[in-house]
């Protein structure tokens, strides 16, 4: 799947869109009068199975603004042989804004999934990027045990590597519920925010925004070497993670752009 967006007058419009195979996209929406476009990705019908490979390339030209989301959760089923491989490349030119807010990834019994994301930004671009990893749930109320979820993110700012994030979860390995690993939680959320406006003061204020909602989860925020921060959350539900991430992004949207929270009406 390939998508590039550009800014024409006050509006972000599609410069090029191309998809083949299982990926599909709906026509762009405009959720408010800011000119920011919103695309919905439609996941492969039944979900990912053995040996599936997908590639997504997103380019935002200067000043282009896009919200990219999915229509529903990404499901990974049994993959006995070759892990599903998802590769993403995101290019953000100066002044562009990308908010990538996918639904959770649900990994069912024996699922193996690898994702490699490379983000190349120019100084002055802004990124909100999130991932939620969850185990599938069986009708008898047990959490499924997936085999492997391995996600890597590399972010380059003006061609210099400024963040490398590598999560590798293998629930069958001994001790994964224990101290240091999942610590009894089942769901893991990560959010990365890159912007020249991020600093320690912004982080302090975000902590006061989410500080009162940190029961039933374990969450941490920290600054990157420059121009961004990460938020990592362990919790028992997708909803909890989504609430905390939405609280952060709503606060920053208001603060930086005087915009309302993103309201994605999917259901």
């Amino acid at each position: 799947m390939r998508l590039s967006m550009e800014k024409k007058r006050d509006k972000t419009v599609t410069k090029q869109v191309y998809f083949q195979g299982a990926f599909k996209m709906l026509r762009p929406h405009y959720l408010d009068n800011s000119g920011q476009a919103c695309y919905f990705l439609i996941n492969p019908g039944g979900g990912y199975v053995d040996g599936d490979r997908y590639r997504m390339e997103i380019t935002l030209e200067e000043q282009a603004e896009l919200i990219l989301t999915t229509q529903s959760a990404t499901k990974v089923y049994r993959t006995p042989h070759t892990p599903v491989l998802q590769e993403n490349e995101i290019i953000l030119k100066k002044g562009s804004v990308l908010e990538y807010i996918p639904d959770p990834l649900i990994a069912y019994r024996d699922a193996k999934y690898k994702q490699n994301t490379i983000i190349r930004m120019e100084r002055g671009a802004t990124l909100f990027y999130s991932d939620i990893l969850t185990p599938g749930w069986s009708p008898d109320g047990e959490w499924f045990r997936y085999d492997l979820l391995q996600l890597k993110n590399e972010i380059y700012l003006d061609e210099k590597l400024i963040m490398f994030d590598h999560l590798k979860l293998q629930p069958d390995e001994a001790g994964v519920d224990g101290i240091g690993y999942m610590e009894g939680y089942t769901h893991l959320g990560s959010m990365i925010v890159m912007s020249e406006q991020v600093n320690e003061d912004v982080l302090q204020r975000l902590y006061s925004v989410i500080g009162k909602d940190l029961d039933e989860c374990k969450a941490g925020l920290s600054l990157l070497i420059e121009g961004g921060f990460t938020l990592r959350i362990l919790a028992h539900s997708t909803q909890k993670i989504e609430e905390l991430m939405a609280a952060c992004s709503s606060f920053l949207r208001k603060e930086w752009y005087d915009r309302d929270p993103v309201a994605l009406r999917k259901y």
Partner: protein, 228 residues
């Protein structure tokens, strides 16, 4: 006796003034939350720290640095220095690590001077590199002709020694309990070295998420004796 042995004792000694005694790398968060409170809970934490964090980061970095040094590939060293530094998302852990790295570079340059060490130091001084203790240690040991598996096990040991001494002060534990922990962890170190030597380099930088979040949360721990 191998003539590098005494030099290694010196480099692994917790008296080497690197500043490692002021960093707990997230342990203090667990102590404050009362999740680590005695010998057994600290031993469990320490084994996790070795098998869930050190092997994929510092341990693999030692091996990759060693391989790069064997090939005379300095560029690979600078790439590794950046990658392992930006891989640490919790700010205090990242900054603590490169401060220790810088101190170790200074000491290394004074005690065991070599052109590459001095170039590394120069790069950290002008902002082209960060300085990572695993890389600095490997560089010094490599020029002393220490074999790879010995570098790996002694580097892991020196890191564990520092953390254990910090735990003895921070939890607190008795000195003898600390010594038992250092004896018992030796098995885990041996296994870790074997694992690092055959590890797929695609596993570089994998994190233990609970530990990482605790390292981030340490920024908000109010009463503390450690900087990370």
């Amino acid at each position: 006796m191998d003539n590098y042995l005494l030099s290694l004792f010196q480099l692994c000694d917790s008296n080497l003034p690197t500043g490692a005694f002021s960093h707990s790398f997230g342990l203090e968060t667990y102590i404050q939350e009362n999740k680590v409170h005695d010998k057994d809970s600290f031993s469990e934490w320490l084994r996790m720290y070795v098998t869930g964090q050190l092997v994929y980061t510092d341990g693999l970095a030692c091996r990759l640095a060693f391989e790069a040094l064997e090939r005379n590939d300095a560029e690979e060293i600078w790439t590794l220095d950046r990658k392992i530094t930006v891989q640490a998302l919790p700010r205090e852990t990242r900054e603590g690590t490169y401060k220790i790295g810088e101190r170790m570079l200074t000491i290394g340059n004074d005690l065991y001077p070599a052109p590459l060490l001095s170039l590394y130091k120069e790069k950290t001084a002008n902002g082209e590199a960060f300085g990572h203790p695993a890389i600095v240690f490997t560089m010094i040991a490599h020029q002393l002709n220490v074999p790879e598996n010995v570098i790996l096990s002694t580097y892991l040991y020196s890191t564990i020694l520092g953390l254990t001494q910090n735990a003895v002060r921070g939890i607190p534990l008795g000195q003898t309990a600390g010594q038992f922990i250092l004896r018992d962890i030796q098995q885990s170190i041996t296994k870790a070295v074997e694992q690092i030597r055959i590890m797929d380099i695609a596993d570089f930088g994998a994190v233990a998420p609970g530990l990482e979040i605790s390292q981030m949360k340490h920024e908000r721990v109010h009463i503390r004796i450690f900087m990370s």
